[in-house]
């Protein structure tokens, strides 16, 4: 018998069609989060305090100043940026993988009118939300330590959502190819840890060789997130590779938007392929 409706490969790359149902998936995760709120808040609260104590006061005592700033106020915007990265990345790798692979939660949802694309998009939006929540807590800690010197600092909160969207989309790409949960050690150690140290976080990016500065600016997303949190929290951004602070902010924003769109669409396609074949 001939096939009247021979389908093209389901792996075909498409722009996902999303509806309001994305928020139903987001809402599911939000409900779980509010149920375990105390456990969720504690690490995001304690971690920045420990960093500020250890690096700011401890190590900072030996460093008189960096470009006219105390060491502790130099690292404060970086800690905020790192919370954007960690909050979303861990949510959309380990946590999403558990829901997909062990709990089969995605399978249960796609038996309802919610589509696979919407499940993945909902997970990514939730990852960005987690980043926003974490970042808000870290920002409050930083403020409590009196480390904010720009009136624009509240803009960090909406920015955290978009920065979170970028890391969550990248994380979801790893999740789409992860054969098991241990696999996430690779992106954690080979992607997150280098960025943690090398993206203008604990020392100025300009201390690195020019080639390394170029690399960080071209391929490491945290560099751009740090640029923006630094601009919004301390208001002191130094030129990198001859780019003025204003240009840097513009470059970083453009970079983040372009990369987010790319990985958001890619991750949904990769996850769809994984879940429907």
């Amino acid at each position: 018998m001939t096939s009247p409706n021979l389908r093209k490969s389901p792996a075909r790359f498409t722009i996902p069609k999303l509806t309001y149902r994305v928020w139903m998936v987001w809402h599911r995760n939000f409900d779980v989060f509010t149920k375990t709120i105390a456990v969720n808040f504690l690490p995001s609260l304690l971690e920045p305090i420990l960093y500020l104590l250890a690096f700011g006061f401890g190590l900072g005592g030996f460093i008189p100043s960096i470009r006219g700033q105390s060491y502790i106020s130099f690292i404060a915007p970086a800690l905020v940026a790192i919370s954007v990265m960690n909050g979303s990345f861990f949510e959309c790798t380990f946590a999403s993988f558990v829901r997909m692979y062990f709990q089969k939660t995605f399978d249960a949802i796609v038996a309802t009118p919610v589509s696979v694309e919407e499940v993945v998009a909902g997970e990514i939006l939730w990852g960005a939300t987690r980043a926003t929540i974490n970042t808000t807590i870290v920002l409050a800690v930083v403020a409590a330590f009196g480390l904010i010197s720009s009136p624009l600092f509240l803009l960090v909160i909406p920015f955290a959502f978009f920065g979170g969207l970028m890391f969550a989309s990248m994380a979801m790409c790893f999740t789409s190819v992860a054969p098991n949960i241990d696999f996430f050690n690779f992106p954690s150690f080979l992607f997150l840890t280098p960025m943690f140290f090398l993206c203008g976080t604990f020392f100025p990016l300009t201390s690195l060789p020019v080639a390394a500065q170029g690399t960080a600016l071209t391929i490491l997303p945290l560099t751009h997130v740090v640029n923006i949190t630094r601009g919004l929290i301390s208001g002191k951004l130094e030129p990198i590779l001859g780019l003025s602070p204003a240009t840097l902010i513009l470059v970083s924003l453009t970079w983040i938007i372009a990369v987010t769109i790319f990985f958001f669409i890619l991750s949904i396609n990769l996850m769809k392929k994984r879940l429907t074949s």
């Binding site: 018998m1 021979l6 389908r7 599911r28 089969k104 939660t105 309802t112 009118p113």
Partner: protein, 308 residues
């Protein structure tokens, strides 16, 4: 109870995974109000077929329509009409029993008040009220199954897909599940059921499709299939070369099946023919029983063990 209205129709339906053909150009129709069983060994393509019905897997080729809607185009509408009780437990372990149902309602866009009402109704119906606020991890296998059933019905589906609904259940829970299926049949819900259990298929299904290696190899009502393939009665004796010629002579038109140290003789003669023979030729360790669906199944799909 069934009408002539076709509710599910497959034509040339095929699903390939890389080089493996899980479902191979199958055609079938399911009428409104029918309970149709897909029977087959492991890896026969039962679950894959069911998964295509609720748009979980896209067909590689062919056409599959539910209530006139194509799985290639109208997934959202189809999933609104269908209730799914999957083989594996995919209840949400992050929520309690009642919250599982309420969150599931939300995915269907059912408003909050209505969701709570339906959830409570289902809990009552499935005798889960006592477990209302218990976490999923604290439920036994049977209770989890009941909750999966309840969840599959929360959108008041026209079509219910039950993928091995009683695997791993104790007899009490199985019978409860069967009662539920019969109840739904009375309400004109169309049911697709996959199972390994022949007794289950025989009791519940109006019609059975036997699938093997991705193809439908036989279909009919349980009674028709038994009559057509294995007749009325089976005599089982210890295999003994000395008595074989006498048996072959006495039942020359019967079907003989030799399994290890057992010999099965299938006849379509009316009940009682074996008793007559045994009076004249007394034997030890003899069983006479009515032919059943399991005999049909083993005859058609063979006795070799299957890989998953």
């Amino acid at each position: 109870m069934t009408s002539q209205e076709v509710l599910i129709e497959a034509q040339g339906l095929t699903k390939k995974f890389d080089d493996f053909i899980a479902v191979d150009h199958i055609d079938f129709k399911v009428y409104k109000g029918e309970c149709v069983g897909f029977l087959g060994p492991n890896g026969a393509g039962k679950t894959t077929t069911v998964r295509m019905m609720y748009c979980f897997l896209p067909p590689t080729s062919g056409e599959l329509k539910l209530a006139g809607l194509s799985v290639n185009k109208n997934c959202r509408e189809i999933k609104n009409l269908v209730g799914v009780a999957p083989q594996e437990d995919n209840l949400d372990p992050d929520f309690t029993v009642i919250k599982n149902l309420i969150v599931y309602c939300r995915y269907f866009g059912i408003p909050k008040d209505e969701a709570l009402k339906r959830a409570n109704e289902q809990l009552k119906f499935f005798q889960l009220e006592e477990k209302r606020d218990v976490s999923i991890a604290a439920l036994s296998g049977g209770l989890k199954r009941r909750l999966i059933f309840a969840r599959a019905l929360i959108n008041q589906p026209q079509i219910l897909l039950l993928d091995e609904p009683t695997t791993g259940l104790d007899p009490q829970a199985r019978h409860l599940a069967w009662d539920e299926v019969r109840n739904l049949k009375k309400k004109q819900v169309t049911i697709i059921l996959t199972t390994h259990y022949m007794d289950e298929a025989a009791v519940l299904c109006d019609r059975i499709l036997i699938v093997d290696k991705g193809k439908i190899i036989e279909e009919g009502s349980p009674a028709e299939l038994v009559k057509k393939h294995v007749g009325e009665e089976v005599l089982e004796v210890y295999y003994d070369e000395k008595v074989l010629p006498s048996l072959k002579e006495a039942f020359s038109d019967a079907h003989f099946e030799h399994l290890g140290d057992r010999l099965q003789i299938f006849t379509d003669k009316p009940h009682g023919v074996f008793e007559g023979y045994l009076k004249e030729h007394p034997m030890q360790n003899v069983t006479i029983r009515t032919a059943n669906l399991e005999d049909v199944f083993l005859k058609l799909t063979g006795r070799g063990l299957r890989e998953e």
